[in-house]
Amino acid sequence: MSKLIYRSKYGTISFSLERAVPLALVFLLVCLFVLFVLSLALGSYDLSLSHLWQALFAAPEGETSTTILWDLRLPRFLASLLVGMMLGLSGAILQGVTRNPLADPSLVGVSQGASLAVVALIVLWPSAPLHLRPIIGFAGALLAASLVQWIAAGKSSSASLRFILVGVGISATISACTNAILTYGQINHAAAALSWLAGSVHTASWGECLVLMFGLAVLSPCLVWAVRPLSGLRFGPELATGLGLHLKRDRSLLIALAVALAALAVSMTGPLGFIGLIAAQLVHRLLRVGTGSHLLLSALVGGVLVALADLVGRTALAPIQLPAGLISAAIGAPIFIALIFRNAGPKHL
């Protein structure tokens, strides 16, 4: 355990890092770099490394490789990275707050709420500016999440599974509404909404990336704040209260933060299932680390996962592009089942 301490006249800020964390960080960053190079180089128009280098740094005007790199592959990689990071963070926070290893934005109604709002926006007001989507999506997601919270609240004995199952029910209802809107809307708007619903980063452009980066920049101070209440909540509600947390307020704020992160990601690329669940659980199972490092690593793992899913989706069966959401669901569902095995002990039921 190494400690970084910063003292000023306003007080002390100290970070403590477990020994495993720098190693994991380096490993993840290397993974990301490899994925970065592969995502830029591979595709229906293969770029050699030297071309890649040239297009990246010299960027000769009017060359095909420059256009492909700067207009298509780079924003796509960046968008998948950012979306993955947000989903990973959202999953980690949700799992921390609900103390439920099975929590994931796509399982507790958040993704579906955001989807409904955004599909309604696309179908009813197709000319709406892009930056309106996250706001509307956030509103929808927050509504859905509070509905699930409100309905699932009550007896605490089986809170964890009850929360998920209520989420399954609410998600089904909301998806039915989304489908109804799709049938009701004009066919061309419905088709646009449908391709968005599959959960894919293939349409990502710099506009999406800017919205995502801006959102992450706004939310990151909140993330720093979130570390303290989250580590308190790890010990359970009684101890957290004992540690001086304002339990009710902090919980709702944390959930709002998780919802905001997921809504931002979902409103840009469509629902990508299971990413938050896998990222947060992978980190949790492999490394026993403090809350702050857990958040950081979950974000990176989420980014790696979505970038990987996108890369596999567009190269595995080229020229057909499988949306990243499909790959993530295909990988995520078995992991989810494995988690049920591990966690469905008597104490959870």
């Binding site: 599974l161 199952l165 209520v166 089904a172 998806s175 489908n179 499909l326 295909a330 469905a344 039921l349």
Partner: protein, 330 residues
């Protein structure tokens, strides 16, 4: 709690409602048809009369499909709830429907089987595989007999199979255009083409369910009680699982996956006739037919002239009940 102390008294009510709703189903739609014209269409059919053609060739097939599918899914749901002793069981929630849809899509796009006659068999194979998967997961998970774990494994298997199905559809545009409407669960006039092939499965499943009704009642009191009453619980469970699979497959082959019908209807039926499966199973079939006729009527009336997919309406009605039940059970 039940409305009729003697279940026999519920039958006239259900039958009466069924006839009224069936007539409404024939009469209303994008073009309303008068009752006298409906009767005329049956006893003196005139090919030149547009209304007669609508009734005979569009509305009657839909009505038959809705009745068959409603009966099949409701009985399948009732059996599942009895056997697993889980009030939340439903062919859709436990992944049988996604399995059936997956079976059909795989069979027609990879194995090249496109004849209608094989559709119920493909659906049954897929549903059986999904059911086995869910059962195995639930059996091997710690405390797997609890309703929650069964449902969670159902949800996960369902998500996985749905992703696979949409993946196949993306790879194969022909399959996508064939199955697009069918996959969202819609009762259409086309359903009748499938009826002759699905009917043997449907009737076989219903008869087997009716025949086992006594033992289901015993089984719904628990494995020990059932064994004490002289029922071989394991072999009965397997037989009923197959029965559920067959019923679900015949319904999915006709109209695609319709969620939550098997959850809602048995619960409504229990309110009417109590907890004896000798009554629940036949009455669920009737109430299910009634329910799906009403849903289909609503699906084409609410946003007329646009039709909402039937699956959307059943989910919209069923999912809140599911949430309510989760609150009560867990």
């Amino acid at each position: 709690m039940r409305l009729f102390t003697n279940p026999v008294h519920a039958l006239p009510l259900i039958f009466g409602l069924l006839i009224v709703v069936a007539l409404l189903h024939l009469g209303f739609g994008a073009k309303p048809v008068a009752l006298s014209t409906i009767l005329q269409a049956f006893h003196s059919f005139d090919l030149q009369n547009f209304d007669h053609v609508i009734i005979r060739q569009m509305r009657v097939p839909r009505m038959i499909a809705a009745i068959c599918v409603g009966a099949a899914l409701s009985v399948a749901g009732a059996l599942m709830q009895g056997v697993t002793r889980n009030p939340l069981a439903d062919p859709g929630l436990l992944a049988l429907m996604s399995g059936a849809a997956f079976g059909v899509v795989v069979g027609s796009s990879f194995l090249g089987i496109e004849a209608d006659i094989w559709m119920p068999a493909l659906a049954a194979a897929g549903a059986l595989a999904a059911a086995c998967l869910v059962t195995i997961i639930a059996l091997f998970a710690p405390s797997g007999r609890s309703p929650a774990v069964l449902l969670l494994s159902g949800a996960a298997v369902s998500a996985f199979l749905n992703a696979m199905t949409s993946g196949i559809n993306l790879l194969n545009e022909e399959s996508f255009s064939t199955f697009r409407v069918w996959l969202s669960g819609a009762i259409t006039t086309d359903a009748l083409h499938m009826l002759p092939y699905a009917a043997p499965w449907l009737i076989g499943g219903l008869l087997l369910a009716l025949g086992s009704a006594r033992q289901v009642t015993a089984l719904s009191m628990g494995h020990e009680a059932a064994t004490g009453l002289g029922v071989n619980a394991t072999s009965l469970s397997i037989r009923l699982l197959l029965c559920t699979v067959v019923l679900t497959a015949s319904a999915v082959a006709m109209v695609g996956p319709l969620g939550f019908v098997g959850l809602v209807v048995p619960h409504a039926t229990r309110l009417l006739v109590g907890s004896d499966y000798r009554w629940i199973i036949p009455c669920s079939a009737l109430v299910g037919a009634l329910f799906l006729l009403m849903v289909d009527l609503a699906a084409r009336m609410v946003l007329a002239p646009v039709e909402i997919a039937t699956g959307v309406v059943t989910t919209f009605l069923g999912a809140p009940l599911f949430v309510l039940l989760v609150r009560r059970v867990l």
